[in-house]
């Protein structure tokens, strides 16, 4: 059974090519994914991300619960509406999912997890929540639209009730707040995203999602599909769950060490395994690659290095750079000259620091 978001008809009406994504019937593009990509880098685009799972966590001990559940420390969250990116690990230190957690009150946090991992995430969260008497409430009543690009914020702010505009305009990155749309529709507006551009992710009651989508269209925001979303996040150096990390990969091996908080005395799930791994030396690491020759780096291709073989995780043509880029997992150690096997040929690639693209432009040296 394929699930449909409330915007499904709107996508089809705009001529979207639909694909199955983690059990959801979602738009891959509305014609040209490269044009959609450029629209987000240069102006403003929007994505239906209603398939993602929003979960509200309520309870007196919800902070203690999240200190245990998440590898990043919710103790960093003290300001109302502040967001944090984190992994949720298993006991082996493997990544169950990556997610964003919002602080909405001492007894109320909100998390947003991936669509493809919904069932296992909910089962895990609910199981761990019991000991803390935390209520886990799935918010399927929300649709979500990500409005992204250098002009995304101004276009979205124009659709807000006048009384809210100044406050949302002034809201910092990785913050969220409640606001009202023009006709009093209650929204949850977060200054977050998955493209490397500024913008908002907007939660809207399902029954008002089509009207918000239409208003954004009228404001000149271009619909963009999962295809553009994938190339945008890859250029921006952001991991994709299931491709760049999974339950057998630790944050150390997925360039997510920066999201792990080893704060004194906090016993989060997976901490012991992460410490042991660090002590024994992490055997694999994730790197960025650029292919200057013609061809496209793709998931599953073999990477040849002096330290041994690795493989391409996320790989694609980068519309901003005009050449292929990728994340790869390779053995730790000196890599020497790195090559990638593409259809019986071995092509030289450059190892680079990512993000590949920042502020809409290729980073220096890439």
């Amino acid at each position: 059974m394929t699930a449909k978001t409330v915007l499904n008809e709107a996508h089809r009406a705009q001529g979207a090519r639909m694909v199955d994504f983690g059990g959801w019937d979602m738009p891959i593009n509305y014609g040209s994914q490269i044009e959609e990509h450029h629209a987000v880098r240069q102006d403003a685009g929007m994505f239906d991300v209603s398939h993602m799972t929003v979960v509200d966590l309520h309870g007196e001990r919800v902070r203690d619960f999240l200190r245990r559940l998440l590898a990043n420390s919710v103790d960093k969250l003290t300001e109302h509406g502040k967001a944090l990116y984190t992994c949720m690990l298993n006991e082996r230190g493997g990544v169950i999912d990556d997610l964003i957690v919002y602080y909405l009150g001492e007894h109320f946090f909100r998390i947003v997890v991936n669509a493809a991992t919904r069932e296992k995430d909910l089962a895990w969260v609910e199981r761990q929540a019991q000991a803390f008497e935390v209520e886990v409430r799935v918010r399927d009543d929300f649709a979500m639209i990500a409005v992204q690009g250098p002009h995304a914020r101004e276009k979205m702010i124009g659709l807000l009730a006048e009384v809210d505009r100044e406050r949302i305009e002034a809201m910092g990155k990785f913050h969220a707040a409640a606001a009202q749309a023009l006709h009093g529709v209650p929204l949850f507006v977060a200054r977050t995203g998955y493209t490397g551009e500024d913008g908002f992710e907007v939660m809207v009651p399902e029954e008002h999602a089509v009207e918000l989508w239409q208003a954004l269209l009228d404001a000149g925001v271009r619909p963009a599909g999962l295809g553009a979303r994938d190339t945008l996040r890859l250029e921006a150096g952001m991991n994709l769950y299931g491709q760049d990390m999974d339950e057998d990969v630790s944050p150390w091996e997925a360039s997510l060490g920066w999201t792990v908080a080893m704060d004194e005395g906090r016993d989060f799930i997976g901490r012991g395994a992460l410490e042991a791994q660090k002590e024994q030396g992490v055997k694999r690491r994730m790197i960025g690659l650029v292919l200057d020759e013609k061809g496209v780096l793709r998931h599953g291709q073999t990477v040849l290095t002096e330290a041994g073989e690795g493989e391409i995780l996320s790989g694609s043509f980068s519309p901003t750079l005009g050449k292929a880029i990728a994340f790869a997992r390779v053995p730790s150690g000196e890599l020497g000259d790195v090559r990638v096997a593409i259809r019986n040929r071995e092509l030289p690639v450059r190892v680079v620091k990512y993000p590949f693209v920042r502020d809409g432009k290729p980073r220096e040296g890439i």
């Binding site: 994914q33 295809g227 061809g295 043509f317 519309p319 259809r343």
Partner: protein
């Protein structure tokens, strides 16, 4: 979906073939195929003079999304390739049956064309695929 020109023949794997006045066969991929692949970013062309046929891939079209082999609908020798695709692979997206041609073959036996799908049969094939 653009009209399928009546003078074309098709493989089930979505290549088209056009017999030209000089007896050569021009080959490309269908408009339906380019639409499935999405934005093309790279085309690997066959070598001029190489032997090609329906059993072995001789060219590769790569979109942002996927790489796909291209087969020659008839056995023969490659006599021309569309070098313009090196700089503008998107020609295939824009004009699959025209500017977006990929290579030209001198066929061993023109009669092989008769074994291919005619436009009506091909239209039926892609309609069935969509359902």
């Amino acid at each position: 979906m653009s009209e399928i020109p009546g003078d074309l023949k098709f493989m089930k794997s979505h290549e088209w073939a056009r017999l030209e006045d000089d007896g050569l066969v021009r080959v490309g991929i269908s408009d339906h195929a380019q639409n499935q692949l999405g934005d093309l970013v790279y085309v690997e062309l066959p070598d001029i003079g190489s032997r090609v046929g329906p059993d072995n891939g001789c060219a590769v079209v790569e979109s942002v999304k996927a790489a796909s082999d291209v087969y020659s609908p008839v056995n023969g020798e490659v006599v021309a390739v569309n070098d313009a695709l090196d700089d503008s692979p998107e020609s295939i997206n824009e004009d699959a049956f025209g500017e977006g041609w990929i290579f030209v073959v001198r066929p061993d036996d023109k009669a092989e064309l008769d074994e291919l799908l005619d436009p009506e049969a091909y239209a039926q094939l892609i309609e069935d695929e969509d359902h």
